[in-house]
Symmetry: C2
């Protein structure tokens, strides 16, 4: 039987939420990942040292006995250099959301202009704190990421020593940006390597595949696949696994987010194998991220086997019930 | 108070379904419309004279005591001229669906090429039976209608005496086709004059606004508005009102269709008034259709007033419950 061993897999973009949902989803990541960048869009957002430390502590209590490191982030707002110095050792990055662009981002940045953001971004640059960005405008849904490219251009040019991560990129235009600025990097989700808008709304409407940024065109997906499968040194895996309760996903007015945490490694193995690129998965899933963020992950070996696995209809703990991608379907790789 | 009188409003593209759903929705159209083109995509499709006559009779029983004429259509397949002659007086048009393109279209045409369809289309042409077309390819969801334009080109050129209706057009490209062929016409829905993909999937996902063809870009909607508001002589109103049970619309894997029948006239009045084009609504809602189809509708006068109306959360009869567009919202015109 084919097997695969991955060293210290990292999820460089993860939503763990809080309270009961945190209890449900944290172990589903910590069972297979060595660490993850934890997104700060709670209600209220994580924007103080106290909130950050308390959230990290709640996460560590929620991961069962797994060996797992939560790489914490702050919700971007104007921070003083003094504050950033005081919190530097507790955080791995700061995440910038345009206001209202996705779940719990209402307190985000109203207008992204390099002048008003300069004091905070210069301080981050000097202290070596990376900036993670949800790169969408409030334009037409299929154009939002593309329209954001000139903001990335401005940020990358104006702050050449700032490490900037284009989070969950979905377009050919974002892929093309990687070669334009030395300090621009990207995370790519599992689902954006697999689906297009056709999967969300081309047949029946599929709320469990509805996410932000929305899945785009085939040529966009192919551009993402190209850099992911070849483990382009500036891209890394970030699931953007974003749990919502099943009733909220299947209701009228469903929230955006695809829940992939428990099946991400297995499906990535299937995808990379299908394209005969299994040898590049280690870089995509861990090594590139270590280089980009300059981190040393907890040592953790994950073994996978090529053996069918039927994905559960849902994962449940207490009152929380979440439907994963590929629910009730069979995937071709399993955890050993 | 502002009032408006419409003479014999016609809905030139309507789904009435069958059985309990027919009982629920037929009176919601017949209360305000003088007549409607009835789509034949039942299970099985309406493709025999017997099925057609029986369906018409079920419709006439379902419309309460309203004065209303169902303009019947057959589901397109290869028909002999002899058959078409025998059914000519019972039908107003024949509706062509590409196979699998929308609800109950599995029995549609696998490949639309003018050579194989020529015998049927020539017979229709000679007998003066219009062809209604769901014009979408099986390509990427945002491109399906645009990609269909060369099929319209081929049909219109090859059968110059055939009246061809591009049903529920959603793109600028389809609007541009109107001036390219004398024998091409179009219906436009209410919802495609109002929404874009942003309304379906730009914020939360809105299953009740999910339809086929899917709503497109702002420039597409503006092109539709331009010809509708100015009552371009080759366009006419066709609601494509397409009821699905509420549980099917709000479930995982929701069906395509927007239910607008009970609010269509009122919202059209609001829209045309907003753009200061109220004087053109009579043409869009009836006169153009009479000219294009060469029909004389039942005389029916509908009076509207500019007075707020709160749209119900749903319409219900027996086991059937359907959510209309603008459910729980207030629209600015009412029936008198």
């Amino acid at each position: 039987m084919d097997t695969l061993t991955l060293q210290s897999p990292l999820d460089m973009h993860l939503h763990l939420r809080d309270e009961q949902m945190l209890q449900l989803v944290a172990p589903l990541t910590s069972q297979t990942f060595s660490g993850a960048i934890i997104m700060p869009n709670l209600v209220p957002p994580v924007d103080t040292k106290e909130a950050l430390i308390a959230y990290k502590s709640r996460i560590l209590q929620a991961i069962d006995d797994h060996q797992f490191e939560p790489f914490m982030t702050l919700f971007f707002k104007e921070y003083s250099k003094e504050f950033l110095e005081s919190v530097k050792d507790e955080i791995t990055a700061i995440k910038l959301y345009p206001a209202g662009i996705t779940t719990n981002s209402e307190g985000g940045v109203e207008s992204i202009d390099v002048i008003s953001l300069a004091p905070t971004l210069n301080a981050m640059s000097e202290l070596g704190i990376p900036l993670c960005v949800h790169g969408e405008t409030n334009g037409f849904v299929m154009d939002r990421e593309k329209e954001f490219m000139n903001i990335y251009d401005a940020l990358a040019s104006e702050f050449p020593d700032l490490t900037i991560i284009m989070e969950h990129i979905t377009t050919k235009e974002a892929v093309d940006m990687l070669d334009r600025h030395d300090n621009l990097y990207a995370t790519i989700t599992l689902h954006h390597l697999l689906i297009t808008l056709d999967d969300v709304a081309g047949g029946m409407l599929q709320p469990h595949l509805f996410c932000k940024p929305i899945a785009k065109r085939y040529e966009d997906r192919d551009a993402l696949l190209e850099v992911a499968l070849n483990a382009h040194p500036k891209v890394m895996f970030g699931s953007d696994s974003a749990p919502h309760p099943q009733h909220a996903k299947e209701a009228c007015g469903c929230a955006a987010g695809v829940f992939t945490a428990p099946i991400a490694l297995q499906v990535l193995a299937e995808l990379f194998e299908k394209h005969d690129k299994l040898e590049n998965l280690q870089k995509f899933i861990s090594d590139n991220a270590c280089d980009i963020y300059n981190i040393k992950p907890l040592k953790k070996e994950i073994k996978l086997k090529k053996y069918p696995f039927e994905v559960p209809a849902y994962y449940k703990k207490g009152d929380q019930q979440v439907v994963p991608m590929y629910a009730n379907q069979t995937i071709q790789w399993s955890l050993m």
